[in-house]
Every structure is written in C-alpha cells, then in structure tokens.
Symmetry: C2
Subunit: 506 residues, 2 copies
C-alpha cells in the first residue's frame, strides 16, 4: 500500500468517500489509487472553482466533509474563492493539494509558488505531510480538524485510524440563565440565529422563546443552510441593505447571538455605519459559532417558555402568475412550484430579492446562500448538494453574471446525472452593480461606465451553453413557459437548465 | 477630481490606457471615473481569470502594461493563476485591486480576507494606498515598477506625473569578454536564450555567434514571446521531457545563459534528475533576466563573429494534408495556412507537440507559450494580444481541457470584435495526464482512474459553447474541413472558433 492508497483508505475509514477533483501530474498517484479503493467516489470538475464549490455544497448538506484534489499553487489559487465561501459557511472540507515532490522544490520549476501562503489565506487547519509514513495519521487529523466545531477547511499538502467525531461544547448553565434573565427584564430583546442554529430544532426552540418572552427573532443575512417552508418556524433574515437592518433592529436594547455574529454592512457606504448594531443596543453572546447553540436555545426555551408552542408557517402558495417574466412573477412561479423537500442553491442576487417572500409557505426546503460573497458558487454548490442528497430535487437559482464564473459545473452535473434544475435569472447585466454604483455615491455616470456592467453585448445564450455541456435546456420568456418547463425539469431525472429571460432587460 | 479619476489620469499619462476589468462594489468609483477619462479603454471579462490572462497577453505583445481592475480578495484569488503565468513571463501589469474602505476593514464583512497575503503570493511590487492624496504618485510608481526590467506585476491596492521609463542594465565589458574567451576555448559551449532575448535582434546575434564560434544554441522551453518563422533564425527550444533535454545538452561543457535560467524538470519523476544541467557542465550567466541580454549578445557577436551572417529560416510550408485529423495532420494544416505576421497563443498541450516543426518555415509570427504551467491561459492571452495588436491576426491553439478553464474569454472577444481564431484541439481527454500517469510510475491503472482523465462523457460541444457567447463556430473532422474553415476565419474580421476533432479520441 503506497502513500496515496493509505491516504484514500484513511479518508474512507473516516467517512470521507467523495472526492471532487481536478488533478494534475503531481496527483497521479492519488488518481491511480482510486482504482484500488473503490469506496472512494471520484467526481471530476473542469475547473477548481467547480471542485471547491461542490465540496462546499456537499458539506453543507451531508454534514460531513468531501475531499478535494487540487494541483499545486495555481490549482489551489483557482479554488480559493470557493474555499472562502466555505470558510464563511463553516463547511467541513478535507482540501488535499498535491505539491511538487520534496526534492524537486529547490528548482523553482514553472508551477512552483508559495503554496503554504495560499493555504494560509484559507485559514482553518493546515498540514504539510513530509514523510509518506505519516500520511494516514495526517489525513485522520485533517478529518478531525474539518469536523471540529463549527467546521472548517482542513488543508493537507502532500509530497490511515478513523478520527473521533468532535462535538460542540455545551454553553454553561450560568450563561443560559443570564440570557433568561435578560429576556424577563422587560427590555426589548432580539435573538439572532446563525451558523448551526438555522435548522429545525434551533428554529423551533427560538420560536418558542419568542412566544414565551416577546423577544424578536432574526436569522443572519447569509445562512450556510437554512431550513424553511411550510411546517417550520418562519423567521425573517437580517436585510442586505443597512437601512433595512436599521428598521429591523430599531428599538432593540439587547441583541442575543446564537451561533451568529453581530451584523455588519457588506460594504462601506458614504455616511452610513459599518457596524449595524444600533446605538444603545448591547450585544450578548449566548453561543459562539463553535458552541452548541441548538442545545442552548432548547434549554433557554425550557426556562422562559416551558409551555409555549412554536409558531409554524402554514402552507400558502402564491397563485401562478401569467404574462411576461419579471423578478416578481418569476419569484411567484418558483414559490408555487417548488417541490417537496427541495434544496435551493440561491445565487439569484438582485432578481431574486422577492424569493424569501414567495417561497415562505412553499413545501419545506433547505436554502443554501452566498455566505462569503465570492460569486460563482451557485452552480458548484448545487452540484455538491446533489451528490450529498441524491434523492432530493435541487433547484439552483443563478444570476446570469454569476453563472459565467463556474458554468463548467453543468458538465459535472451531466456526467454524474445529478438531479439539479438550474434557472438562470437572466437580466443581461451586472444589475447588483448598477445599484451599488448609485449607493456608493458614484452616480451621474454615462455610457462608458454603464457599458462595463452590461452583459447584453453580445447576449449570452445559456441554452446553447448548457446543451454544449450535455445539459438539456430551454428558454422561458413568460410565466406560463417557465411553469411548464419547471414541472418538466422536476419530473425528469438528471440536470436541466431554464434560461428565464426577465422582461426588464437593458 | 476624485481619487479614482486621479488614478486613471495617472495611468493614462503613464501610457497605461487599457483596463481589463471585472469590477465589484468596491470599484464603483473607478468605473464611474471611466466616463470622465475617455482615453482609458475599459474591457470587461466575465471572470478574473480572463482579466489577468488578457493583461498578460496584452503586455507580452504591447511591451507596456495594461491595468486590471479586480474586486477584493476573492476577485484577486480568481485571477491568481493568470498572474502566476505573467510573473513567469516577466509581463508588465498594473494590477489594481479594490479593497474595502479603510474604516470598514475591522468589521470582517463577508468578502473580507487577507488581501495583502494573496498579493504577496504574486510577488513583484505591492503598494497599499492609504491616503487618496497619494493615489496618483502610487500609480506612477506602480507603472515604473511594472516596467522595471525584466518586467513584473505591480499590485496597487486601493481604499499624476509620468514615470521615467526604466531601462535594463548593460552587461559589463569584462563579462562579455569572458564569455568570448569561453567560446574561443575550443570546449563545447551552448548559449541558452530566454526572457527578452527571444526576439529578432537577439536571435540574429545568437545565430551569428553560433556560426562564428561553433556554439550550440537553444531557446528556453516556454518563452513568453518568441519571434520565429521564415526570415528569422530558427533556434530549437529546450524540450519538455528530461530525456529529450539530456540529448540536447549531451557533451556540452559550458552552458551560457542569456536572459534564461538553467533548465529544470517541470515535475519530479522517479529516478530522474530535477536539475537538467548534465554533470561536468559549468553554468555561466552572460545576462540575467533584468539585464540587457540583447545588447550583450550583439557585443559578443561583434567580438567572436564580426563577419558572420545569421542562418535564416527559409520559407518552407508543409503540404496540405488530407483525410482525418490527427495531431500530425492538424499541425501540418496550421503550418501550411498560418497567415503573415500572426500571433500564436499556444496552449495546445499534447496535441500540439508537432507544431514547432510544421510551423518552422511558416510566415514570420510571434509565439506566446504557457510560461508558468497554470492552465487556462490560451484564450485570455490571445484576447489581450489581440487588443495590443489589433491589426494582426491572432491564432489561439487551445487544448479542450484547458479551454474549459477560461472559455468566457470568447465573450470578451465577441464584445470587442477581436481578430482571434481559436482552434480547439479536441481529443476528449486530459491526454497530458494520461502520459504523466505513466511517467510518474503510477501505471497499471484501471477504469476508475482513467475515467477521471476523460472529457468525453458527456462530450463537450465547443460549437454550441462558442455560439452561445456570440463567437461564430464550426466543426472540423478532416484536414480539408479544417483548411476551408481556417481560411474563412482568417479572411473575416472578428473572432471565430473551430472545434478540431482529433481522430485519436477515446
């Protein structure tokens, strides 16, 4: 058994049995070893952005790491944006990067670079295996590090005992009791849910606390995985725009964090604060990202709301709209047709702003959002989620501009026959940047600036692009067409793409 | 005049008037300022890999920097692979990265990361402008740094006097004389040309030295920009495979470097050396990468070969082949039809291995190669070269696997109506890795390993992909079809793509 085989066996023994890969010469031993360890499933991505994004989507849904296989510094560089989002999502990933053979390093060959420096940018856990005898032990440690709460990217740079499953630390009784006292003080409290506290048990406990104590509830702006829909508590998310957040937090005297961070603005804007916690509001941490926020919320609920029942969302579907596609009618169509138990990978940016409203009463689903703002994650994350949950329908809502970052993920979806329906919200522009151009005070722009935010010259034919990579695709210009095509896509196995052309195009 | 406008004015005054961009919110002031400085041409790329690759291609051909416009850490991360190749090519680039507003940094907003660390990975010159009053001076310094020999990536992180044009240092007379003495010693010498010494004046001087002294001549394996073809000295390149290099350097007692580095293996292989300089061969540096190798070679020629004439390649075209497309017949077709004064962006990997031979006697052309081995550069570099030299035909020879890394460059080519003809050398696999799998001693693989190097399931329809981004495309399965389509593409303005399907597909 050589080093590569020892590595794969350790990974498989540790429950890591999916490898998203874009290998190169320095990873050939690993590729060869796949033949000898059939338990490991190798899934090829055409670019490292697909590989790392898919590992993020897999980890968010499976709750355990996939492994990646990247090639030297440039391969890691190409995958960094996906690892950035994964870091923000606390997704466990075992990130395997092949490096030059040790004795080759001094020669500064063309692909040489400071790989450790890039790995350091990702943060998390980092190990360079220098002795092949240690590869198994290092891999076991990497799995443990990746799974250690709240979850992280563990990078193993290469020249087998299953790890213990790490658990989250419990919040001390005294801290739960202190929060209960705050909630009973009569002052206005708000509980902000994030991290692992955005799934059913935490949402139910939080809802009970709200009923019992009068506390307001919010979920962080970009949750890694939010369970929502009919039968679950519907808790609003913190807004993207600072003025919206100011409304949401107005009058709040105590902000209680459960797995979340206190809200900050995505960007700096002239004359607007970066810290969105209002003056006079005190921030309290009930549970940090690495602590057991779910357990803390449940204990808190039993203190302040022992008899309360959570408020559950009723099944309410929007009527199917008719006529031309607008952001509004598109969101209603999605809300009306979302299938039971779907996973929604949402990178719809501006055109999707009404989706939270129109899908609130849709059948129960998981929502995966753009945690780190590094665009291009929607398609890869959908790919990884579909690998993690092959029995569930995956809906990828993807803005046209972001889609072009990692469109090659469609090819992997076709290759693996994944049940992903991608809807391109096609408005022919970087519309988010048109808005931002105004908001940063750089308005009064003329044609040349606007041209740099325009994607319509030439227009991008997503039907042609998808079919070119083996994914059946259609084009919808009306709500009726979108409804027919969505039903057909959900009804048929394998990937599909719908190019939804929004009326409000430039 | 605000900071962004001051920046752009300084860049334009310093001769930097092309900006390849994929902006985000933190760059909106820059975008807005484009309206007020019409001398700056903004060119949109759909991914930062397109942006940095295009800036590399532009710089290699124009001999002066373009500027980029990248968005925060994730934007820089996506562009790193292109900057890696540019670093290896010594391409001057003014790499402008927008960061969060200074007062926003402490909030660790979603897109925050250690941007300086990534910029440090690129190497070269790095400045963070902290005071808007300094942006003009910093930009001027960035231009000077980018142009300072041998050329580099100068990164300016953002919250007008034109710089002096830096020149290469001359090699001392005593060093030229010492090299002349070596050449006259009767021992076997080989002059290795690289860096700036791969263009006509250096090639002519080297050829004269070879005639006059009997020295062997070689060009480095992956030159940034090699001038070649009929009427120019034809000097063989150092091989990619170590065994080939051993043949080329066999018997050489003195290796004389002119702008090049001593050859090292691309990767480590079992039982093979990383340092490819044979035992008993002494390495001498005539001119380092930042010195004036052209001048040194000319002075050396006047010492050792004052009367010698360079040996010039005669115009010799291969016969147009017929029948199915193989790597051999495809290379012959290219050689037979390469237009006068073309620029060839070569990322053809395995299928292009015969091109050096079949294009040796083609009309004079520039060859841009994969300097840093970070794949995906062919299409972006062709894009930038076409912007730099709008009057010249650009031929991009692109392997199918590499093409999928930065295919979005086609959209920018369509948008800017660039005269680029892309030929996809489509063999349906990562064929280079099939070879490497054998070479690293990881042979005896079965179906699962081979599957991870296979691009044919599903097959990628490049005609569909190109037309989806506004580039007219055709498919060629025979030499006759390829010839007809190549002539048509070269004869018509704007971009074209030919999907050349090689017979030896899996």
């Amino acid at each position: 058994m050589n080093g590569a085989e020892a590595l794969i066996r350790t990974l498989v023994d540790g429950g890591v049995d999916v490898c998203f890969a874009n290998p190169g010469t320095s990873e050939m031993h690993f590729v060869a070893a796949l033949d000898r360890v059939p338990e490991m499933r190798g899934i090829l991505g055409l670019h490292e952005g697909v590989v790392t994004g898919a590992a993020d989507g897999f980890g968010r849904m499976a709750g355990r790491p996939a492994t990646t296989l990247l090639h030297l510094g440039p391969g890691l560089a190409n995958g960094l944006a996906g690892l950035h989002n994964a870091r923000r999502a606390f997704t466990p990933i075992v990130n395997v990067v092949g490096d030059h053979a040790t004795h080759h390093a001094p020669y500064d060959a063309p692909l040489s670079s400071d790989l450790d420096l890039l790995a350091g940018w990702v943060g998390g856990w980092l190990r360079r295996t220098t002795d092949v005898a240690h590869v198994g032990a290092d891999a076991a440690e990497a799995i443990a590090a990746a799974m250690s709460p709240p979850g992280r990217v563990a990078t193993l740079v290469l020249p087998a005992t299953a790890p213990p499953a790490p658990t989250r630390a419990a919040v001390a009784d005294v801290d739960v009791a202190a929060t209960a006292a705050l909630l009973r003080s009569g002052e206005q409290c708000l509980i902000l849910l994030g991290g692992a506290a955005t799934r059913e048990p935490a949402l139910r406990a939080a809802s009970r606390i709200g009923v019992g104590s009068g506390a307001k509830l919010l979920v962080e702006t970009f949750p890694a995985r939010l369970e929502r829909g009919a039968g679950l508590p519907a808790i609003e998310r913190v807004g993207y725009l600072a003025e919206h957040v100011a409304d949401q937090l107005g009058g709040v005297e105590h902000l209680i964090l459960a797995g979340a961070r206190a809200p900050v603005a995505f960007f700096a804007y002239p004359g607007k604060p970066s810290d969105l916690v209002p003056a006079g509001c005190t921030v309290h941490v009930l549970a940090g990202a690495d602590e057991d926020a779910v357990d803390a919320l449940e204990r808190l609920a039993s203190l302040v709301a022992p008899q309360a029942e959570p408020v559950l969302q009723k099944p309410v579907l929007p009527d199917l709209p008719t006529g031309g596609l607008t952001p509004h009618s598109l969101a209603e169509t999605i809300g009306a047709l979302l299938p039971e138990n779907a996973i929604v990978s949402d990178e719809s940016i501006t055109s999707g702003r009404l989706l939270p409203l129109t899908t609130a009463g849709s059948p129960r689903h998981d929502l995966l959002t753009l945690t780190g703002g590094a665009i291009g994650q929607g398609l890869p994350v959908a790919t990884g989620a579909a690998v993690a949950c092959p029995e569930r329908p995956v809906l990828c809502l993807e803005a046209d501009g972001s889609a072009m970052y990692s469109l090659g993920a469609l090819w992997t979806q076709a290759r693996e026959r994944l049940n992903v329906t991608t809807v391109i919200l096609n408005n022919g522009s970087y519309a988010i940047l048109r808005m931002e151009l105004q908001r940063v005070g750089a308005a009064q722009t003329g044609g040349r600036a606007a041209d740099l935010l325009d994607l319509s010259r030439p227009s991008i034919d997503f039907v042609s692009l998808a079919t070119g990579m083996g994914v059946p695709a259609t084009r919808a210009k009306t709500c009726e067409e979108l409804a027919v095509q969505l039903r057909a896509a959900f009804g048929e196995p394998g990937p599909h793409l719908i190019d939804a052309q929004l009326a409000a195009r430039p």
